[in-house]
Symmetry: C2
Subunit: 208 residues, 2 copies
Amino acid sequence: MDKQERQNKESEILAAAEQEFIAKGYDGARTTSIAQAAGVTHAMLHYYFRTKEQLFERIVDEKFRVMSQSMLAVFGDPNLPILERIKGGIEAHFDYIAANPELPRFVINEIITRPERYELLHRHAGVIVSNIYDNLQREIDAAAERKEIERLDIRMLFISIMSLNIFTFVAYPFMQPIMGALMADRNKFLEERKRENIETIMRRIKRQ
Amino acid sequence: MDKQERQNKESEILAAAEQEFIAKGYDGARTTSIAQAAGVTHAMLHYYFRTKEQLFERIVDEKFRVMSQSMLAVFGDPNLPILERIKGGIEAHFDYIAANPELPRFVINEIITRPERYELLHRHAGVIVSNIYDNLQREIDAAAERKEIERLDIRMLFISIMSLNIFTFVAYPFMQPIMGALMADRNKFLEERKRENIETIMRRIKRQ
DNA sequence: CTTTGTCTTAACAATTTTGTTAAACAATCT
DNA sequence: AGATTGTTTAACAAAATTGTTAAGACAAAG
């Protein structure tokens, strides 16, 4: 067996584990199911990753990283003028979540059911928060001073953007059947929803 | 043993089960832990509720009902003028979730990890959606015709309101430590956040 | 005060699930 | 080839967890 095949097996287990853990959570996931889905015996899974716990950590670390990146995306391109920058940030964040629609729910659940892991995202996110303060808040204050936009707390805006973008995906499965035609075509709905989120935030920002 | 004591035991088990299921999910919950928290032997738990599954269903049914009610609250008091009505709806919904902050996450998880139960909320929520259409959309259209507010799809507005209100609570545990002073005092933050959500939606509605 | 049905306990059974091990097997290096 | 190293398999062990049962305690009703 050559190296490529081995790595292949490892990554097949990881892929199967990701699916299983995201779909069923840590407690609901079964190492035997993961092994079966990956096409290996369950002894092999333990050979490669030792324990369920360790396998899970591999997935969680990866997902926390992606989640942190998605949050960074909200802050957009610093070279653009403030309104363009925020608009681009919303769009980038939306697209990021669209590419990983199950990410937020997984991460939030993980944090709530196992708070000890908290700190990992905390460390990642700590950097983000510094960014918000040191850069964007100043810029917003300046623009507000020039009467271009409303005076506001970037953290509140950040929460609003995350709310609007993330909820769309987290709640999709249970909103879809009660929304009729609006959500029947997923791609069309997501396009409309993205526009709606941008519009909502832009109106919150612009001076009336 | 009289009836009251019996009912007491039953409701103690239910209370303990609610806590455990919400905190750890179905798979993570342990019937022995529930029994212990309720102060009964685990055989008693099985005597009263037969299986873990049946005990869980009792909790889920209750939570689905509360969730449906909270969604209805969004539509506010039909006797008020449209802007007042929507503002009141946002506020009522926010307060509803504030009183049951773990409800949305629990319900969404339940639906996603066990889609077969889907239909329950679907049936409940179907009624809601009829309400939206037959009443509020008409009223909004009329107000838009009179140039009082923007023309918009009530379903999109509904999603936005739910997003802003629910995300606040679902994400609280992982936003709190990265938000510093803003979220340090929970009650103060929730008040500010409620105002912010109302402001955000009102600006989306009002004609510019 | 006996009968009836309900409640309680403790021990146990069945199953599921994670994890281990020893031996077979394959690949690689000298 | 022979030794060494790493991989795979099948069977097994250990633990946890849900659920059952038999025997008896207890309260309520006749």
